[in-house]
């Protein structure tokens, strides 16, 4: 017996958004990083619910496995009191940021809700097997794939050069 999809959606939404807020508001930066990892896992759950299990796996491997671990190492390398020193600006600025973000999110959500009747309420039948991903990735877009590979190695070398300590 499986869980009804609507309950899954509500739980995933709650976990993802609460963890995202915690990532920004947690007192200690290291807890913020762990909250960020939880939020990424929530997004991976959304990917599973949208028939994209391969992307969910990639999301967990790359975001939770690499990006968050990299962030944790950086937090440890930066002196503790410096990393935790917070941070939020003056109250007026904080309120302005809240207004900006709220207005933006509400207007996008409002537009989506207005367009709602024209958008599909249920996903069309059929699914997206992982085997479709490969031909499109390497067949339809081979040049971006190669550029991405070069860019990735270039960025990693650049990061290495930047972080190197000159003796």
């Amino acid at each position: 017996m499986s869980v009804p999809p609507d309950i899954t959606f509500v739980v995933l939404t709650t976990v993802t958004l609460l963890a995202a807020i915690m990532a920004l508001q947690a007192k200690e930066l290291i807890y913020g990083a762990i909250s960020l990892a939880i939020s990424f896992i929530g997004i991976a759950g959304f990917f599973v619910s949208l028939d994209a299990p391969y992307l969910a796996m990639l999301q967990i491997a790359v975001y939770v496995g690499a990006v968050v671990v990299l962030i944790l190492f950086t937090i440890m390398l930066v002196r503790r009191e410096e990393a935790d020193k917070d941070e939020t600006g003056e109250t007026g600025q904080s309120a302005a940021g809240l207004w900006l973000a709220g207005l933006l999110a509400v207007s996008i959500a409002g537009i989506a809700a207005l367009a709602g009747p024209n958008l599909p309420a249920t996903p069309p039948p059929g699914n997206l097997p992982v085997s479709q991903l490969g031909p499109v990735l390497a067949g339809a877009y081979p040049v971006p794939l190669v550029i991405l590979a070069l860019l990735l190695s270039g960025a990693l070398l650049g990061a290495l050069v930047l972080a190197k300590v000159d003796k």
Binding site: I71, G89, L119, P120, A140, A163
Partner: protein
């Protein structure tokens, strides 16, 4: 199964949280968190639209594949820059990193 609009609303909320962090926070690592949240909001939209197209289209997932790789290298370079900034200025408060201010 929830409608496409509910996915868009979740994505908009995630974007709002990210924009808030980007505009208010002063700690460079925290700002990087906010950027990652915004990228994730975009990815969620791509995957949702790809699934709800008729017939379902895999191209949205391919774009997210590229986006995840790009976000990984953005994080690597960003964290290296933060380390360098900390080494040179012994602070990662972005309001204090203002040597280029005229």
């Amino acid at each position: 199964m929830p409608s496409l609009v509910s996915y868009i609303i979740v994505s908009a909320a995630l974007l709002g949280i990210g924009i808030y962090g980007l505009s208010v926070k002063r700690n460079a690592i925290r700002i990087l968190f906010a950027v990652e949240l915004i990228v994730n909001a975009a990815n969620l939209n791509f995957v949702a639209f790809a699934r709800y197209m008729n017939p379902p289209n895999v191209t949205g997932q391919v774009i997210v594949f590229y986006s995840i790789a790009a976000a990984a290298m953005e994080a690597a370079v960003g964290l290296a820059l933060i380390l360098v900034a900390f080494r040179l200025n012994s602070t990662i408060d972005v309001r204090k990193l203002n040597k280029l201010k005229g």
